[in-house]
Symmetry: C2
Subunit: 411 residues, 2 copies
């Protein structure tokens, strides 16, 4: 019952692809000395104005950079660049935080010879600490955007916080017979809970698509990708998915009636799923990626809600860490998910092993289930036998290291 | 800004009081060999039929004993006894689980010479394992209920699972000039999240009160006591609060218009708050009790919702464990609580130390805040400056031991 990302039709994964792979994009990242050692400042630039679409955290406490980015996009629905820093989140800093976010935007526009309204701003890190502008502003002046893997990787590094690895991906498809690339870079490890967006993700594409259609595509796909990951149930104040489409692939404009619209949607979804799984797998302290697949729910939305509730249960997450096939914790989470279920018709499988059938316990091999739980990808499948709704969610195990990392993150 | 349970008017705490303290109640507990060493089976008995009221978990997956208890109460709104076991939860066992719960009830009725419909049943422990009836049924026959502290304590021990200590309390008040006692025994350490009930609690009283008024009182008070604790966000399948009032104090029947109704309500609330705090303090792996106090919310319900969200945040809980005065995690939880707030008017204090005022960071002594967080009771106070709503919630820190306990609970 395990599943994987199916690559359909003409879509293909680009090895070593990233945000620089779509035509007409550059990136850069460097160490501006906000953090002790690691890179902490980066930029992505499009050679020409790119259609822009974004989804933001639903947390009512939103960091200053989000408001500045909203303003830039609202000014014309296009962007040329996004600047990002890690280390401090520039959240809950009052008026000084808003001024700092504007200063980051202005300095980036000046360095790249752009209008400030062509620039988006993102920050990630500790809430309630002021940005080290004395390091960030000179750092922006030193950014040298380039079109190569090293430059994209430097950007990917520059947005990391407690992440242990960079998160990059790229897929290609065909539209009007032309090759179109969609590349993504993301960060996210803690304070991750699927309520849009709960991490940073930047997606670039050389597709030709108007901002409205891009926004429609991003919002729809976000609901079943980034919004389906959870690390710790905490919805961040800062985070967003920003997509830039600069049209450099040279095909006719995309719209839902275009014959290759599905190619675009499938490819964008693939990028978003892969980024989501990379974030879940690198959850703070995580040793395993957990994928929960719910079928037979009344609706797809219900299935997604239950899948998220299961993958977010601290008890299930510790059981996965302890390789304990404790299906009782799965059914418990189903019961409090808020979706109306029939308590008598539930199937639960851990990996390929059925543990509960029509709500009656099944004899299963504890050893086989434990062996599955020892792998670094764990699958839990649920069938409610109520309808046709299906949905997935992704998370990770809860380990000693999650506690260690978060008991000492700020200090 | 720290707070404590205020003992008002004629109410007083009874040292060493428990469920045996109200007149006409007996208890017993023993080791029936369901668990390896610790007591695992117990009973509380009233000398005369007692008005019964109960609140149950809202999890849609409910264990068989809950249905049996509902049936007993529905048959006449009174009970004479409740039998409880720990070790196995008798949840998700299909038809055999229902039969086992009825057998527990019948055996208890026979042993105590009661009608089966006078007996309630409760189980707590691992989901999905069959009750060891070969040990439980003979155990029931051996229970010898008595009216003394040792017997009540044996019952309190017999319902523990991962708890590290018994949870008992008793308060007295005056009604019509007569002394009335309310005693409570509870268990609960993991799979605790405030959605009624998420643990077991048994409350006995010699007050004279009809079942309907008792249910009204219990439901109202549960909303701001047991429903305001969280250990891990998981709502159990099994749990309930059951209250028995046998009228042996000999006063006129209580009702909301009775001049001493407030005495009764305050005393019952005191018992429920104390039981709730005992459960939160003994959360799996916990080293600290955390009390969150929200003021200035639009309504009391909103305040309670925000308080629960803060105290349930894994990030806040790990920060408390790490004695890190990370108020950013508090405001983050406020922002995703689902209650509409004004992001610009929030005050946050950790212990007596203000860290955020009108949403602007305040200079505070990190050392002083850390010293407060090193105590075994931690207070977080929030003022939203939006209205008159107030509410509290209780929880604990998230520690290495929570992971250790739950990575290995079942096996």
């Amino acid at each position: 019952m395990a599943s994987s990302t199916t690559v359909k039709g003409c879509m293909q994964k680009i090895a070593d692809g990233s945000v620089h792979t779509p035509a007409g994009f550059k990136a850069a990242g460097l160490h501006a000395k906000v953090k002790r050692k690691r890179k902490d400042l980066g930029v992505i630039v499009s050679d020409v104005p790119a259609s822009a679409a974004a989804v933001y955290t639903l947390n009512q406490i939103q960091a200053a950079p989000l408001d500045v980015t909203r303003e830039s996009i609202a000014a014309g629905d296009t962007l040329r660049a996004v600047v990002a820093n890690s280390g401090q989140a520039n959240a809950c800093m009052g008026k000084v935080g808003v001024a700092d976010a504007y200063d980051m935007r202005d300095q980036t526009a000046q360095a790249l010879n752009l209008d400030p309204l062509d620039v988006a701003v993102a920050s990630t890190g500790t809430i309630g600490e002021r940005l080290q502008m004395e390091n960030i502003l000179p750092g922006i002046a030193q950014l040298q955007p380039e079109t190569n893997r090293a430059a994209a990787n430097a950007f990917a590094e520059s947005i990391l916080t407690t992440d242990t690895c960079t998160k990059e991906t790229c897929y290609a498809t065909e539209i009007d017979g032309k090759t179109v690339h969609i590349g993504g870079v993301a960060k996210g490890s803690g304070m991750i809970h699927p309520n849009m967006a709960t991490m940073l993700s930047f997606v670039t594409t050389d597709a030709n698509i108007a901002p409205d259609y891009l926004q429609q595509a991003l919002s729809e796909i976000t609901d079943r990708t980034y919004n389906r990951i959870t690390i710790d149930g905490d919805t961040s104040t800062n985070d967003m998915v920003l997509t830039l489409a600069n049209g450099q692939a040279g095909h006719e404009p995309l719209h839902p009636g275009h014959p290759d619209w599905t190619h675009f949607m499938q490819t964008l979804e693939c990028v978003c799923i892969e980024q989501s799984k990379q974030i879940a797998r690198d959850g703070e302290g995580a040793t395993k990626l957990v994928e929960v697949n719910v079928q037979g729910a009344p609706t797809d939305e219900d299935a997604g809600k239950i899948a998220k509730q299961i993958v977010g249960s601290d008890l299930l997450k510790t059981a996965v860490f302890g390789t304990d096939g404790n299906w009782g914790r799965v059914i418990c989470a189903i019961g409090y998910s808020g979706v109306t279920i029939d308590p008598e018709t539930i199937d639960i499988a851990i990996g390929p092993y059925m543990t509960l059938s029509q709500s009656e316990p099944v004899d299963f091999s504890e050893e086989a289930v434990t062996a599955h739980l020892q792998q670094d990808e764990v699958f839990i499948d649920v069938n409610l036998h109520l309808g046709d709704g299906t949905g997935k969610a992704w998370g990770c195990d809860l380990t000693y290291d999650y506690v260690r990392i978060n008991a000492g993150y700020r200090t």
